[in-house]
């Protein structure tokens, strides 16, 4: 097999290895690299230690998820779609199902408890995702203790996902019309434990990292983005909010009842890596604030799935008793429901930014097209601009501050 990663010549560089009298060289960083947060190749042209050109090459994790989704039923497609942003899988599924529910015109029928649990798992996913970002970002800079603290917090959250959805990652817990099942017994007790554990743990993490002089030295004034550039480069999420524009899809285009919860949108104006770092730390706190508010609402029981069994399977107990339930269940499993033709663009606020799905249906029981609006891909693209003039050692810091997930970048 020939080497199919991009050779420097193909990317337009003049590779001159014969007589090098200056300090210029072309350095290929990745695609296997401990600090690129995934499979990313950056072909950098450096002069001494300063980067004069940075060309990220992606596609090393291209999975054909969108093509797979076109060949699966509407409810099956979420299994592959969940595997895009693998740090917060439920967010992908939520956005996709919100789009499907819009096309089915059943979004008003989703019961409140289902909306509340959807908000709960979205915010827990956000915290879990930021735990990974924080831990690995710290490792990139040599701060290993933060990694252990953050991953332990993440473990407790993954325990909750395993309890409710069945798997730690990719639980496929969100379904059309609501959830896969109600919250099991004992879930709320465990959720309380996580809520109690959160504050002292984050206090420790902040004490370790936030005012750490090494971290500040490495992050302040690195990778500065101006707000107008941020908009021109289609940045969203903490990267955009680190430049001063407080655009959050939960506030701008509320979904799942987010308008009922009180939370702030942390914003900084410096635009450097440290600003994005602080924004994400504050976002974790805001997410936990939402979790606390949702927790109070979850004490009251209620339906967790729309009653219309043409889209959501009937309760298992009724299948032995009701012919209609049996038929609906059979139809859903063997043929799935059909979605009326049309297209829709649905966005949610993922941990990385505005995650959007442009879903097109032609009336069939399979999606015609599921186009992902990948926040990580647009966020990563700005690396071409902000890496110029920075030290090669700062490349790692910049990638970490953009927080890309390559399952989403490459799909």
């Amino acid at each position: 097999m020939t080497m199919s990663s991009v050779a420097p010549e193909a990317a337009g560089y003049n590779v001159d290895v014969v007589e090098k009298t200056d300090n210029r060289m072309v350095l290929s960083m990745g695609p296997q690299h401990p600090s690129t947060h995934g499979v990313l190749q950056i072909v950098t042209e450096i002069e001494g230690e300063i980067v004069t050109k940075a060309s990220p090459e992606i596609g090393y994790l291209h999975t054909g998820i969108e093509k797979s989704a076109e060949n699966l039923f509407w409810s099956q497609a979420s299994t592959v779609i969940e595997r895009m942003d693998y740090l917060s899988p439920l967010t992908n599924a939520l956005c996709y199902y919100l789009a499907v529910e819009k096309l089915l015109a059943i979004e008003q029928q989703i019961p409140p408890r289902a909306q509340q649990v959807r908000v709960l798992v979205s915010e827990l996913s956000r915290i879990a995702s930021h735990c990974v970002w924080l831990g690995t970002g710290g490792i990139d800079l040599g701060a290993l203790t933060g990694f252990f603290y953050c991953f332990d917090l993440r473990e407790r959250i993954l325990d909750l996902f395993e309890m409710s959805g069945g798997a730690r990652m990719h639980p496929n817990y969100i379904r059309v019309g609501g959830l896969a099942q109600d919250l099991p017994d004992g879930f709320l007790g465990k959720l309380d434990a996580v809520i109690d554990m959160y504050e002292p743990r984050m206090r420790d993490v902040r004490r370790l990292l936030q005012k750490n002089p090494i971290l500040q030295d490495r992050m302040i004034d690195v990778g500065i983005i101006e707000p107008q550039d941020a908009v021109a480069w289609s940045l969203t999420g903490p990267v955009l909010r680190g430049t001063g524009i407080a655009y959050d899809v939960r506030k701008a285009f509320p979904y799942c009842g987010y308008e009922n919860y009180e939370f702030d949108v942390p914003t900084r104006t410096e635009g450097d890596a440290y600003a994005r770092f602080l924004v994400r730390l504050d976002e974790m706190d805001e997410a936990m604030r939402i979790v606390r508010q949702v927790r109070k609402e979850l004490d009251a029981p209620g339906p967790w799935q729309i009653p219309d069994t043409k889209f959501a399977p009937p309760p298992k107990e009724t299948i032995a008793l009701s012919m209609e339930a049996l038929i609906h269940h059979f139809k859903l499993v063997s043929e799935s429901f059909r979605v009326p033709p049309g297209d829709v663009y649905q966005a949610v606020e993922g941990p990385r930014g505005e995650l959007g799905y442009y879903v097109v249906s032609n009336g069939d029981n399979r999606p015609w097209r599921v186009r992902t609006r990948p926040p990580s891909m647009y966020n990563l693209q700005v690396l071409k601009k902000i890496a110029l003039g920075e030290l090669i050692a700062d490349m790692v810091v910049m990638i970490g501050s953009l927080d890309p997930v390559f399952g989403e970048v490459d799909r």
Partner: protein, 160 residues
């Protein structure tokens, strides 16, 4: 190993000491591709702690690693790179194919994914799951240690 009665000598074979050393210090290569990579990182976290099995450090350079944990889906673009990294690892080397995608293509039966990394490199242990829990990965490392102690030098399935 046999202890001399006087207590001043230790008799053993070089092989068993070498295998004991290899099995107790299996250093993986950071071959994290996708979701399974996150569970691999979680296996280094305190809850599961792969370091107590000897995998204290994950080496980024293939020259310094003896275990490649292929964690995640291998795309057709990444395949040659996985092969190249495997070739760059010095012998003896072992491979764990972690997760359904690395073992067989997983949920992605399509144009973009290599249907099993064992079509490119010889695999010693397969770990099922999507993703497998870190316990599964720890068990796989245990199996590798058993293979090492039994004298396997890696790629045993390919050479069988």
């Amino acid at each position: 190993m046999a202890l001399n009665g006087g207590g001043d000598f230790l008799l053993t074979t070089v092989d068993s000491v070498a295998r004991w050393a290899q099995a107790s210090s299996v250093w993986p290569l950071t071959m994290g591709l996708a979701c399974c990579a996150i569970e691999m990182m979680t296996a280094t976290a305190p809850e599961y702690d792969i370091a107590r099995l000897g995998s204290e450090v994950f080496r980024a350079s293939p020259r310094q690693a003896d275990l490649m944990i292929v964690s995640g889906r291998v795309s057709k673009k990444m395949g040659p790179i996985v092969k190249r990294l495997y070739d760059q690892m010095p012998e003896p080397k072992w491979v764990i194919s972690m997760g359904a995608c690395a073992s067989s293509g997983g949920v992605f039966d399509n144009y973009a994914i290599v249907q099993g990394v064992d079509t490119i490199i010889p695999v010693d242990v397969y770990v099922p799951g999507c993703p497998p829990t870190p316990d599964g990965l720890l068990y796989a490392v245990n199996l590798i240690q058993q293979q090492i102690k039994a004298g396997g030098r890696g790629g045993v399935l390919a050479r069988a």
